[in-house]
């Protein structure tokens, strides 16, 4: 029993013969986690879960999900490539992140579904019912805090005894490891480096995330859903946060940790991290598409003339689109929010939307830059 467990956790050094089913599962996993499919699949998953939320809020669904995931992990542990990446001590927290985010997302969704049904029937929400009662902090709150604290500390000590904190070779500025990765919580941003230059992915977009988070309470004018879980009373806010937090943050952290190897190339979970894996660089600037492909001319020498199509496109996107939308489809929203709020919201939203837009264009037409001015380090 113990030796079996040790073998499981220690990872078979020997490649195991999988048989047809095992091989099929592995091939499918490698195929599905390729970044394009991974991203599209997660978008579909978020949309599907929100739409069929009554189904996904069921207890057996999450139980089945965790049971299947556990089975999958036990199966995958025997694969040396999967084992090598998942059992790195510093990757344990990412597995915890994966499990807790999914569990709490489910929990919040379940309570939202229950609350929405109660509201429809005219009953108070789960929280509303309990909020009428007041209890003494001592003992009700203090005791549960103490229990949490003791259990948590015990868990931390066990974890710390079982897994030693790793230390690698001494720092050597002459030897660059491959891959060089940022700390795991910034891997979502490092993933954006595939699509954007550092001044956007590493400086501007993170700043917008912080500003955007700070702006949320002032932009969300919906007074409903304060202090209880709900989806139907604030569908846009919840869906937006799901996309931002679950897709573009948490799932990119997982992608960056487990599926990005040497040279930031993509590797499926069961794929060997081959240093020499080549990914063809076939990306093309918008200016090339415009001058060479469309007009059949060489690209002009003056960078501003050369990049005119991209400049016009982005000016249209950031400066023409907001008033256009404000005057037409979102007229009511402008009235409710006022011009300042609406414009701040639109600009933050457009920056956010630029990420999936650029990703989509990269996958479909291999777009490199809208504006590519390496002369001024100005690439968008």
């Amino acid at each position: 029993m113990l030796s079996a467990l040790a073998m499981l956790l220690g990872g078979g050094g020997e490649p195991v013969n999988d048989g047809p089913v095992g091989a099929a599962i592995k091939n499918f996993s490698n195929w599905l986690t390729e970044p394009t499919r991974y991203s599209i699949a997660s978008i579909l998953a978020v949309a599907g879960i929100l739409y069929f939320r009554k189904f996904f809020a069921k207890v057996w669904v999450i139980t089945a999900f965790f049971a299947l995931s556990t089975a999958y992990f036990v199966f995958a542990f025997q694969d040396p490539n999967f084992n090598a990446i998942i059992t790195k001590p510093d990757n344990v927290p990412i597995v915890i992140l994966f499990a807790t985010v999914i569990f709490f997302t489910w929990l919040s969704l379940r309570r939202a579904v229950i609350n929405d049904e109660r509201t429809k029937r005219g009953e108070p929400t789960l929280e509303g019912e309990l909020a009428k009662q007041k209890v003494f902090t001592w003992p009700d709150l203090v005791y549960s805090e103490l229990i949490c604290l003791v259990l948590f500390t015990a868990g931390m000590i066990v974890w710390s005894i079982l897994i030693t904190a790793p230390i690698e070779e001494p720092a050597a500025t002459a030897r660059t490891p491959n891959p060089s990765k940022a700390p795991w919580y910034f891997l979502g941003l490092q993933e954006l480096l595939v699509y954007f230059d550092p001044w956007l992915a590493g400086v501007l977009l993170p700043s917008f995330i912080i500003v955007g988070l700070c702006a949320i309470p002032y932009l969300d004018m919906n007074p409903k859903g304060n202090g209880y879980y709900t989806f139907e009373e604030r569908p846009f806010a919840i869906a937006f946060f799901w996309v931002g937090f679950l897709l573009f943050w948490v799932s990119f952290v997982i992608l960056g940790t487990f599926l990005r190897g040497p040279n930031w190339s993509f590797f499926g979970p069961f794929e060997f991290w081959d240093l020499h894996k080549l990914e063809p660089m076939v990306n093309v600037d918008l200016s090339t598409y415009f001058w060479v492909d469309l007009l059949d001319k060489p690209r002009p020498d003056n960078p501003f003339v050369r990049e005119a199509p991209g400049i016009v496109a982005l000016i249209g996107y950031f400066l023409v689109l907001p008033p256009l939308i404000g005057k037409t489809v979102m007229k009511k929203m402008v009235e409710e929010m006022g011009m300042v709020r609406f414009n701040v919201f639109m600009h933050l939203f457009l920056w956010f939307a630029l990420i999936p837009v650029k990703m989509g264009l990269r996958w479909t037409v291999n777009l490199k830059y809208f504006i590519g001015m390496p002369e001024y380090f100005f690439n968008v």
């Binding site: 344990v92 009700d140 897994i163 030693t164 904190a165 304060n226 604030r234 946060f241 943050w249």
Partner: protein, 258 residues
């Protein structure tokens, strides 16, 4: 036994510490919270909905608790760690080699990872329950800054073991600063910041240089990150936490339906 307990409880020493009887009556339960400087962060009474784990997920509390664990273990680690390029790695390595069942570094490292996760989940919960809505807008903002500080604390701590992982992760991270518009020497607009043909922004004086106290991750960066990690950021975080908790009380306690 009961007699002894009674004797202790009625002694002058005991009574000088605890100004109330055993908290099993409403009066004493109130006093237990009011007369204790730590417990009085809490109100005397709370809404039953606000203390359910299924509602709060306990993530804010865990984050604070992790901050305490990290402060304690970090303090102990500081006794054995010298933030210089030739000693840092040696000291961390010695902690592993010479201390049997040493868990302080482990607690510090795993706790730091967990704190990032618990802060994210806390923010997630606060968003999903709409708890940033009036009157809690300002406190949400304090929370966002605390989230950023948590990441900065973790990021500065990442460098301290001074191994390959540390140095290169910080190199990747701080390389971004090179591209800061106008302020990084590879950022858009940096070339415009020049006067009479002299460039003001170059590799020797841009934002990245300021972060690292040098052109690459070296001794200067190590000391800078160490001071920020052990003193600078914890002080700011502790101050903002005080504001955060105080505002939770002032804005009506743990959120709940009105």
């Amino acid at each position: 036994m009961t007699k002894l307990l009674k004797y202790v409880r009625e002694s002058q020493i005991w009574k000088s510490v605890f100004r109330h009887g055993y908290p099993d009556t409403p009066r004493n339960r109130t006093l237990a919270v009011l007369s204790n400087v730590f417990l009085h962060l809490h109100p005397v009474k709370v809404r039953r909905s606000g203390i359910r784990l299924s509602y709060t997920w306990c993530m804010g509390g865990l984050t604070f608790f992790l901050f305490l664990i990290l402060t304690l273990t970090g303090l102990l680690l500081m006794f054995y760690y010298r933030p210089t390029a030739d000693k840092a790695y040696e000291d961390i390595f010695a902690l592993r080699e010479h201390v049997p069942i040493g868990v302080m570094r482990e607690m510090h490292r795993w706790g730091a990872h967990l704190m990032v996760i618990s802060v994210w989940l806390h923010m997630y919960r606060v968003f999903l329950t709409g708890s940033y809505k009036p009157p809690r807008e300002f406190n949400w903002n304090v929370g966002v800054i605390l989230l950023v500080l948590t990441l900065l604390l973790s990021f500065t701590g990442y460098l301290l073991p001074w191994d390959q992982l540390a140095v290169w992760a910080i190199t990747v991270g701080t390389n971004m600063a090179r591209a800061t518009p106008f302020l990084g020497h590879e950022g858009p607009g940096a070339a415009l910041v020049s006067f009479g043909g002299i460039d003001f922004i170059h590799a020797g004086d841009d934002v990245r240089f300021g972060l690292l106290a040098g052109r690459f991750v070296g001794e200067g960066a190590l000391l800078r990150f160490y001071v920020l990690h052990c003193v600078g950021f914890p002080l700011i975080a502790a101050t903002l936490m005080a504001v955060h908790f105080w505002r939770v009380r002032k804005d009506g306690g743990i959120s709940g339906p009105l």
